[in-house]
Amino acid sequence: MSLDKDTVARIARLARLKVPEEELSTLAGELSGILAWIEQLNEVDTKDVAPLASVSDVTLPMRADKVTDGGIAGNVLANAPGGAVYVDPTDKNAGGFFTVPKVVE
């Protein structure tokens, strides 16, 4: 499978990655190379083979459906790159909000 510049631009858009126009053709070459190399998997007969979903042979345990954590809104918001807005600035764990550019006009 060979990818052209437009396809690479579309993948970048899907992945929410800004890729400068001048990098698109290099990337198209690299990604095509990787995909061509991956194509060798087509040699393998996988008819009736169930895809492996987990490597674990161990049955993983269920846990009780209980709240075990919480009341740490201050920690959750501590690294917000655009700053956070708190419901009650004197008690950050009371809750708050991440900030984003205006979405609704």
């Binding site: 929410r16 490597v55 674990s56 550019p101």
Partner: protein
Amino acid sequence: MTALTDLTLAELAAAMARKDASAVEVVDAHLKKLDEHRALNAFITETPDKAREMAKASDARRAKGEAGLLEGVPLAIKDLFCTDGVQTTAASHILEGFVPPYESTVTANLWKAGAVMVGKTNLDEFAMGSSNMTSYFGGVENPWKRKGDNRKLVPGGSSGGSAAAVAAYMVPGSTGTDTGGSIRQPASFCGIVGLKPTYGRCSRWGVVAFASSLDQPGPFARTVEDTALLLQAMAGHDPKDSTSAPLAVPDFAAAARNPAVKGLKVGIPKEYRVDGTSAEIVALWDKGVEMLKAAGAEPIEVSLPHTKYALPAYYIVAPAECSSNLARYDGVRYGLRVPGKDLVELYENTRGAGFGKEVRRRIMIGTYVLSAGYYDAYYKKAQQVRALIARDFRQAFEKCDVLLTPTAPTAAFAAGEKMDDPVTMYLNDMFTIPASMAGLPGISVPVGLDKDGLPLGLQLIGRSFDEETVLRAAAALESAAGFKGRPAGY
């Protein structure tokens, strides 16, 4: 008296238990080494103040008779483990300045056992790489050099800083993570021991995620016994990681102290004899077989027919999972934010500026193979091939107890070599990826030096959750090889 920094982890723990040295003295001796060898760029963040504080607390615990398994032992932590109050970057610009308000389970277990953190080590960005050259904070230099050649060599990757720090005697042990070989390959390149446990043995909680069905934390040290001691403290069930196995932790150190391999069946997979492997590595592998045979083990040839497909299948599964995991870096909740005119542009600007080349490449491959219309052709196909790889191993382990293979197809290479084509770099992990795809435990043990004086390792792979046999065979190989190599000047 031997310098404190020359002692193995077990010797260091014993010296502190005898009160020959305090944890504060031990940590100071190691922090001095961090100072001396800063040019290796093994650390992204050094934490000397925290280290001295932790050492003081350790001495206080010992005085009260409350010493843990790793009491007072200084360790370096791969900067992929979240550490409470200490910057955690994953070697990415997008996480620069991120200070987690919580501690990963594995590191919490280590501190509970009494260990002391000296700093956070450098790695390939988001653990994606085999050379440590993709770090936003610059590559790590391998303390080893070719004889008569002053060029800087890479330490391997992705856990290159952790491996270099142990090889340069800055710490007796460190943590890494292994997704496709990120512990075993750098261990081989740096002449030390590195162990990837069975998937599920160590909790992934608080470890920055790359490919969740493959990622597994594990230890580095200079001896098999030290590696076992570290694993002992790191491992265990964690309700916070739903894939962590609810199994008791065996006495790994006891297994490592018992190098009895009489009658042990050692499988030699014939498909690992591939073109492109250096002749010296093939010779070393044969030597390793002879060593285990001389120790009483029984080598048998086995077949793992789908070996050559592990690598291309990995390069579908790992990027697919990476593209999902890395969707969280959106410039809203943590990390870098590059403003845009609207929300979508904020995402695109942030991620475009925050991720390096290799990470962007893998996100795009992952996005493509998971996109509508391609899922069956790529991701489903890869997971089917993965099932066949796992079946190969199951069938081999009906005939043998452990597998012996090379760890990497070459010794450490120079910075800049193999950088032109991503696929060439990917081939470095050809011997480590199959076990990763099957979730099996593997260890790299330094066995000899090549003609340039660079260390080479051999890999032992075991059955699921049978690290004990792996450690026993590794200890036998270590004792037969008697590897005493040490990089000049360290």
